[in-house]
């Protein structure tokens, strides 16, 4: 484990340029610590009964059916058949930002997305990809075939974040697009008006979808490590601001903390999983932490 963990550091993974390998690395590291599917219980929709065979979990035996038929049947859930996942990538220009980290927010998100994609395909669940800027730009329809990993990863590798962003509008668009209940995994820095975003998230959730919000920020955005006089420029609006970083740090940290807390609170209320991340975190650990919590919760 200790030796493997070494390879999970972002700087090591970066050396492996192929995304599929990267994703494999992450997930293998993750799976080494787990024996059961982390997605167990994501979907609770009953689909059908089947005959009990040895090896099935006796917990799953439907005793009502046994009473009627005097035969052992186990319940089968829909999730086990098809839980459709959507990886929703923010393509805004701000996602291309990295101050001193190996990975930009976008690259970090891709790594995460790839890992999740790999996990889901591994379970034969269909996974699709949606990219958005001011609106939805592109989408790959969900498939559970093994080639899907390759498709998604190659697509992601080609993407360049350069757009302006309107998360709320893109989410609304997505909500309109989805017909069945799906698992929507959003990767974004959420640098937009939080009220609109939260409203759209609620709407998506209201549509019966499971939502996981991966809030990816650069380490610099979380810690504000600048010193002295700096002129900061917004890569999207190209506005700039001159300020004394030392004097500003505490104010900024309060604000960013407040921002994250707002999302956390709102998401909890709406039953959305909110995962605050920054690019300095090892993503296997980030992922594991999230998924373990998720399983315990479920």
């Amino acid at each position: 484990m200790a030796t493997l963990e070494k390879y999970l550091k972002p700087e090591v993974i970066r050396q492996i340029s192929r995304l599929d390998l990267r994703a494999q690395f992450i997930v293998k590291g993750f799976l080494q610590g787990l024996h059961a599917s982390p997605f167990h219980g994501f979907s609770v929709e009953f689909s059908e009964h089947r005959k009990y065979t040895s090896g099935d979990n006796p917990d799953d035996i439907d005793w009502l059916v046994y009473a009627k038929t005097d035969k052992y049947y186990v319940k089968k859930f829909e999730a086990e058949t098809n839980l459709t996942g959507y990886l929703m990538m923010d393509l805004s220009a701000s996602m291309a930002y990295s101050y001193e980290q190996e990975l930009t927010k976008f690259e970090y998100s891709i790594c995460l997305a790839a890992a999740l994609c790999y996990l889901m395909i591994h379970q034969n669940d269909p996974v699709g990809l949606i990219t958005f800027g001011e609106k939805i730009i592109d989408s790959l329809p969900p498939k559970s075939k093994r080639q899907q990993i390759g498709n998604i990863l190659s697509h992601l590798a080609k993407l360049k974040p350069r757009e302006k962003t309107d998360i709320g509008r893109s989410l609304n668009q997505l909500a309109a697009m989805l017909r069945h209940s799906s698992l929507v995994m959003i990767f974004s820095d959420l640098l937009a008006d939080p009220d609109e975003v939260i409203a759209s998230l609620r709407r998506l959730r209201h549509g019966g979808h499971d939502v996981i919000l991966f809030h990816v920020l650069d380490q610099a955005e979380v810690e504000f490590p600048f010193e002295g006089l700096v002129e900061l420029e917004d890569p999207e609006s190209h506005e700039s601001l001159e300020l004394n970083a030392d004097a500003y740090r505490s104010d900024y940290l309060e604000e960013i903390q407040l921002f994250r807390l707002t999302y956390e609170r709102e998401c909890r209320q709406s039953g959305i999983d909110y995962v605050p991340l920054d690019t300095s975190m090892q993503f296997d650990r980030a992922l594991t932490e999230y998924l373990v919590n998720r399983r315990n919760f479920g």
Partner: protein, 711 residues
């Protein structure tokens, strides 16, 4: 306020540097991309205001730092106001040490003078090598600048207590004058004094102020070496009822005692020594004190033998100030003077004889005069030299021979009293030989009824009556007749006159002797046969004034003046030799036992002694001389106010002088402080640099707080 290195103040211009840095040389900001700008923008306004405030605060502190540093390095000083413009000039310092007897007060095992000397030496050690130093004390010699500082120290060490100090203001004026003469020097006078109220009087203030006005560059530092709450027992001025006693007459001494802050009643002792003996205690008294702490000790000693007696009165207890615990006195017991009374008959001499040596009370009581009566007819056969005084009572014209003898007698110091009466005639008295003795030529017998009325009793011949001058009823003793003189000789002095302003008693010095002439007789009976009486002086009701006058006049003629033999230290003592005492040299024995042999110029009949600085009893003795052994003496005491220990009010003292000219220091520290301020001003460098450090640390603290990297 002044600066030792004012050029460095230019450094304050460096204040421009932080200003320039702040306003002009602003750093170029680093350009960075930052997507989360929206959070920055939210707090922008409030933050900028706060930041601006901090910037300006820091800027102000930094400017203050630079300015403060320049200020501190310029070495600011608080300057004394006097002596401006003489920085760097050498010093002319006069050290005035009060060495009067009062400074012998012992406090903390040190006399005030020792403390003053110690402080003065401490000061001298700190003077720059090129300083001119004068040591001035209160002795009669005038101080001057000494050659070098070690000489000054030696002079300070050798200061002796001064028994007859010059007034303090005189000494201070001398010192001011001394340093003021050094025009190119900085002029300072250090006065070490116990601040006694006896010295610091209004007159002293005025005098010193006047001197300060004359010498505008002199500063005075008064260093207080006194004791705040002094305790003392002291004896005041001795009072002897008589300085010359006759055999049998008791010695009566009174001395006031003053006590400050002692509980017990003081014991006063009387010591007496005659010429040969050592001092023997002859009496002691516990003195009753009043609430004010004063009392009187009185002693009476009888049966003193003939000769010189010297002694002292001492306080038995000891106190911090010893010098006023002993007072000295000298008294002489002399044999009665022999007086020859010449009259025409026994009734002429009766009144005088009874007045001078009353027959009724001759049993052992003190007798001042031993009277011998003779008639004029036997006058030429008498040895006048056997008598001290010869009185002619109502003389008739006498032989020229007798007058010559009498004149010779007077020349050699004899006393002659001539009491003119009805027997005198113009023819017998206006001859040349007689005129050598008489005040002038007889003119007429005045019949103008009048009485004696001496206006001025200052003359020693009548000085004994001074105390009774108001109570003598002169008009009760009328004078109907008296002699008038034509012209008075040039050397005649009228001692007393009648009520009509005519001369009554005249004196004429003849050689070393004295001649008194009364123009009306002292011998007329109340009803003389065949004529009217000239006056009722001896025969009036209760003729005590006559007795008094007779004693005074004869005493004066005998040159037995009741002069005090007590003097103050430093006075020149004049001892009058007996008229016929031929002394060519004598020995002066001083209180410490030393004897000095001195020679007297021929013909000199007084001994003047100027070396009277030591307190105690002095004795003048001569073994030879034409009339045998000479033994005289006198006492030297300190002036009573030398033991006045009350202090002058410091505020009064401070307000009496211009503040910038006279400083009062109570401790060496004060002296040091004043001297530092007075010379170079008080250096404020330490304060200024502390201020700078304070500003600097505040700036650091604020800067760190404002720009700390993580909260």
């Amino acid at each position: 306020m002044g600066f030792l290195t004012p050029a460095l103040l230019v450094g304050a211009a460096l204040v421009a540097v932080p200003l320039l840095l702040h306003l002009v040389m602003r750093r170029q900001p680093r350009k960075l991309t930052f997507p989360a700008l929206q959070f920055v923008r939210k707090r922008q306004q409030a933050n900028r205001r706060r930041l601006n405030l901090r910037h300006w605060l820091l800027l102000a502190l930094r400017c203050l730092l630079v300015a403060g540093l320049a200020f501190a390095l310029a070495r600011p000083t608080l300057k004394g106001t006097g002596l401006r413009g003489k920085e760097g000039a050498p010093l002319a310092v006069a050290l005035v040490v009060d060495n009067s007897l009062r400074m012998q007060y012992v406090y903390e095992n040190q006399t005030r003078q020792e403390q003053a000397t110690e402080m003065a030496r401490w000061l001298v050690e700190r003077l720059p090598g090129d300083s001119q130093v004068a040591v001035v004390d209160r002795s009669r010699t005038t101080g001057g600048f000494v050659v070098d500082i070690s000489t000054a120290e030696a002079r300070l060490s050798n200061l002796a207590p001064e028994t007859s100090p010059k007034p303090l203001e005189v000494v201070v004026r001398e010192a001011i004058q001394l340093v003021a003469d050094r025009a190119d020097h900085r002029q300072e006078v250090f006065l070490f004094s116990d601040l006694s109220a006896a010295e610091w009087t209004e007159e002293a203030f005025d005098s010193i102020n006047e001197s300060l006005l004359e010498s505008p560059e002199v500063r005075i530092y008064v260093v207080d070496v006194g004791v705040k709450k002094a305790r003392n027992m002291s004896l005041g001025k001795l009072e002897l009822r008589q300085n010359v006693l006759r055999p049998g007459q008791p010695l009566h001494i009174e001395v006031p005692v003053a006590v400050t802050d002692f509980a017990e009643a003081p014991l006063v002792e009387l010591f007496l020594s005659s010429s040969t003996e050592r001092a023997v205690k002859r009496g002691q008294r516990h003195v009753e004190l009043t609430d004010a702490g004063t009392g009187l000790a009185a002693f009476e000693l009888g049966d003193l033998p003939l000769g010189l007696h010297q002694g002292s009165i001492r306080l038995a207890a000891s106190d911090p100030l010893e010098i006023d615990n002993t007072r000295f006195f000298t008294v002489e017991v002399r044999p009665p003077a022999r007086v020859l009374l010449l009259g025409e008959n026994s009734s002429d001499t009766l009144f005088m004889r009874e007045a001078l040596s009353p027959a009724l009370i001759s049993d052992g009581r003190a007798v001042q005069f031993e009277c011998v009566t003779q008639r004029f007819s036997q006058a030429s056969t008498l040895q006048l030299e056997d008598y001290t005084v010869v009185c002619l009572l109502d003389p008739p014209p006498l032989t020229e021979e007798f007058w010559k003898t009498l004149t010779g007698y007077a020349y050699n110091g004899g006393g002659v009293g001539i009491f003119l009466g009805h027997r005198a005639q113009l023819s017998g008295f206006n001859e040349a030989t007689v005129q050598q003795m008489l005040p002038g030529k007889l003119k007429l017998r005045s019949r103008y009824a009048t009485h004696l009325r001496p206006r001025n009793l200052a003359h020693p011949a009548l000085a004994g009556l001074k105390d009774y001058s108001e109570t003598i009823p002169w008009e009760v003793y009328p004078v109907w007749k008296y002699w008038e003189f034509d012209d008075l000789a040039a050397d005649v002095y009228v001692i007393a006159r009648f009520a009509n302003n005519r001369p009554a008693l005249l004196e004429r010095p003849v050689g070393r002797g004295r001649v008194l002439c009364l123009t009306t007789p002292f011998s007329d009976p109340i009803e003389p046969s065949g004529r009217e009486p000239w006056n009722l002086l001896p025969t009036g009701p209760e003729p005590w004034p006559f007795v008094a006058i007779s004693n005074q006049l004869v005493g004066y003629l005998a040159q037995q003046d009741n002069e005090s033999l007590a003097f103050f230290a430093g006075e020149t003592v004049t001892l009058r030799l007996a008229p016929k005492q031929g002394v060519s040299n004598y020995v002066l024995r001083e209180p410490n036992g030393d004897s000095v042999r001195r020679t007297l110029p021929p013909g000199e009949n007084t001994i003047a002694i100027g070396t009277t600085r030591a307190l105690g009893n002095y004795r003048v003795a001569s073994g030879g001389g034409s009339s045998g052994r000479l033994e005289m003496g006198f006492s030297i005491n300190a002036a009573a106010d030398l033991s006045r220990l009350e202090r002058v009010d410091l505020r009064q003292l401070a307000s009496a002088f211009p503040a910038e000219r006279v400083q009062i220091a109570e401790t060496l520290k004060d002296v040091e402080l004043y001297v530092d301020i007075g010379r170079s001003g008080r250096e404020l460098f330490s304060w200024a640099i502390t201020f700078v450090a304070l500003v600097w640390s505040t700036e650091h603290l604020l800067a760190n707080r404002f720009y700390r990297s993580t909260p």
